[in-house]
């Protein structure tokens, strides 16, 4: 398509150029021919004039001699006369012949000019006739000179002169006619050429306009083509970007889903283990307690049994936390509480216990938020997260920002952040620190039970697991964003419940 268009444009330009060239050449040739004719005709007339002048001289000389002879009448003087006359006639004859030669040369050149251009001599020009007239004129001139030389009677010379003048008139008339005809032809030719040039100019203008139109149309077409191409490319880029975003979003959701499934599997496994271990602990605790009662007060045996019992009870408490995590999403939430009040209470306790280097900046954007969590679970969650934030600051000064607002989840997105949540309204509790941040490879494991980066004895590795279990069970989700060296932000999403007074009273049993 593009190539064809280029070809058409090229052809139009070539045609334009050829026309201009052809027109210019034709105009030049026409003008040149006219010029040539003018230059040859004009000398021909001049030479004719010269010839006539010669004849007149001969005639007048003859006449003068004859008049002198008649006047003087002396025989002696007449001896010289023929010689003097003959000399003068010879001079004039040379002059005549010279003029004639040039006259002929001009005529032949004119004829050659016509014949050279491949045309024939126009009839009106009648070069042959002019040539014949010239011949007769020259012969008459020679005759006059002959008469003058032969000392012919004056009357005879005068008659010959009259005849010469008649012939001369004839030749001049012919030449004038030819000249006017040629002039006319030249004018016609010139007019035609002018007309041709005008036509040509019009054609060129027309072609130029056509060329401009074609080029304009072509430019418009080309611009459209380029625009379409650019649009298509832009569209493709946009599509690729959208795809990349979609893929990224899916990857994140799938990643989170996989992590969630992993946690569920882990929870089920831990539940199973806890069930067995709880059974194993039964005899440990029960029998150690029983034997301890039997052992004498203050005895070493009683002390040992107390240690066994205490260890059993410690193991029991640990399992209780593990079980809190294992209660993931399978059971319906039993408790509910008002988050804003719980948050304010926790924050007032936390403010009192926080190191002086840390500032707590709460921003609570809700008056009340009922969520499906027990107050104890909320307290545990808040203390776990605030505790982690404080630990992340590693003794440096800074801020811990706590944010609570309402967010709407649609199509798995909350404010553009992918979440593993049903559509609906959620309370979003954000806790952000300016601490050390969490490396990416660690981020994937932070909710796993017993996973901890804290020093031995500093943390159980269950805090976030318990939080995760509790939030999942409530039908919520946790999103963590962290940048090492900049800080970490936990966003906890909990489904918003209607306030208790708004809820329908349960039907009477």
């Amino acid at each position: 398509m593009k190539a064809r268009l280029h070809l058409a444009t090229g052809a139009v330009l070539c045609l334009l150029f050829a026309t201009v060239l052809f027109g210019a050449k034709a105009a030049h040739r026409s003008l040149h021919a006219n010029e040539e004719m003018q230059t040859h005709i004009v000398p021909a007339l001049r030479y004719l004039e010269q010839m006539r002048f010669g004849i007149l001289r001969v005639v007048s000389s003859s006449s003068e001699l004859i008049v002198a002879k008649l006047t003087q009448g002396a025989a002696a003087e007449t001896d010289e006369a023929p010689t003097a006359l003959g000399k003068a006639a010879d001079t004039e004859a040379d002059l005549i012949h010279e003029g004639d030669e040039e006259f002929r040369a001009a005529l032949y050149a004119l004829r050659a000019l016509y014949e050279h251009d491949g045309g024939k001599v126009p009839d009106a020009f009648r070069i042959e006739a002019i040539d014949a007239a010239r011949d007769r004129l020259v012969r008459q001139a020679e005759h006059i000179i002959g008469l003058a030389s032969a000392d012919a009677p004056v009357a005879e010379i005068a008659a010959a002169k009259e005849r010469f003048e008649a012939l001369e008139m004839q030749a001049l008339a012919m030449i004038n006619l030819a000249l006017s005809q040629a002039q006319e032809a030249a004018n016609r030719d010139f007019e035609q050429t002018t007309q041709d040039i005008t036509d040509l100019r019009n054609e060129i203008v027309l072609l130029g306009l056509l060329g401009i139109v074609v080029m304009g149309a072509y430019s418009v077409f080309l611009i459209r083509l380029l625009q379409r191409e650019a649009d298509a490319r832009l569209q493709a880029e946009r599509l690729a970007l959208d795809n990349a975003r979609e893929v990224e979003r899916r990857k994140r959701i799938e990643g989170r889903l996989a992590a969630h499934q992993k946690m569920e599997a882990l929870g089920t496994m831990l539940g199973g283990i806890a069930h067995s271990v709880n059974n194993f602990l039964m005899p440990v605790i029960t029998l150690s307690k029983m034997l301890k009662q039997d052992a004498p007060e203050g005895s070493e045996q009683r002390e040992d049994l107390a240690r066994i019992q205490a260890s059993g009870e410690k193991a029991s408490r640990l399992l209780k936390e593990v079980l809190a995590f294992s209660r993931t999403t399978e059971t319906a939430a039993s408790g509910h509480c008002e988050l804003v009040g719980a948050l304010r209470r926790t924050l007032s306790i936390a403010t009192a216990t926080l190191p002086a280097t840390l500032a707590l900046r709460p921003h609570i954007g809700l008056d009340a938020a009922w969520v499906p969590e027990s107050e104890a679970d909320i307290d545990t969650m808040l203390f776990n997260l605030l505790g982690n934030a404080v630990d992340a600051m590693q003794g440096r000064s800074g801020e811990i920002r706590v944010h609570l607002d309402r967010v709407r989840v649609e199509d798995g997105l909350a404010d553009g952040v992918p979440v593993r949540l049903e559509a609906g309204d959620y309370a979003r509790l954000g806790i952000a620190d300016e601490g050390c941040g969490i490396p990416e490879d660690v981020l994937d494991h932070i909710f796993e039970p017993f996973f901890t980066t804290k020093a031995v004895g500093k943390g159980t590795g269950l805090g976030l697991s318990v939080t995760y279990g509790s939030v999942s069970q409530a039908g919520g989700d946790i999103v963590v964003t962290s940048q090492p060296g900049v800080g970490t932000r936990f966003d906890i999403f909990l489904p918003l419940l209607p306030a208790p007074d708004e809820r329908a009273a349960p039907p009477a049993a």
């Binding site: 059974n279 039964m282 029960t286 294992s326």
Partner: protein, 122 residues
């Protein structure tokens, strides 16, 4: 004191609790699952039943439902160490279905004794 039916598939749990209750003066009859407990109950009368919930054969839930149907008013203490669900969920469920009380494993034996004392008719 009281005649107690102790139902648990774990022999060590039965042994430890059985011994503790026995020392406290109770008569303890053991059963390994719900089915065995029901057949024992068909021939003997008990003052109180302590039953685990998750068991291989007929489980504690079935037993609780059966007791509710056949011997209403018989106190039942459910005990659970959890499983696919948490302990609290099992115990909530058991109480919802008719168990008188629920205790999480590992049970504090003194707490259990106190509970038994409370539940037994004076």
């Amino acid at each position: 004191m009281a005649k107690i039916l102790l139902v648990d598939d774990d022999v060590d749990v039965r042994y430890a609790l059985g011994k503790y209750l026995h020392r406290a003066g109770h008569q303890v009859v053991e059963a390994t699952d719900g089915a065995q407990a029901l057949s024992l109950m068909a021939t003997e009368a008990f003052d109180l039943v302590i039953t685990d919930i998750v068991m291989p054969e007929a489980d504690g839930i079935e037993l609780i439902l059966d007791i509710g149907r056949n011997t209403p008013g018989l106190p039942v203490i459910a005990i659970s160490g959890g499983g696919r669900l948490g302990r609290a969920e099992y115990l909530d469920m058991a109480q919802g279905l008719g168990a008188t009380a629920g205790l999480a494993k590992p049970v504090d034996p003194d707490e259990l004794l106190a509970l038994i004392d409370r539940l037994l008719p004076r």
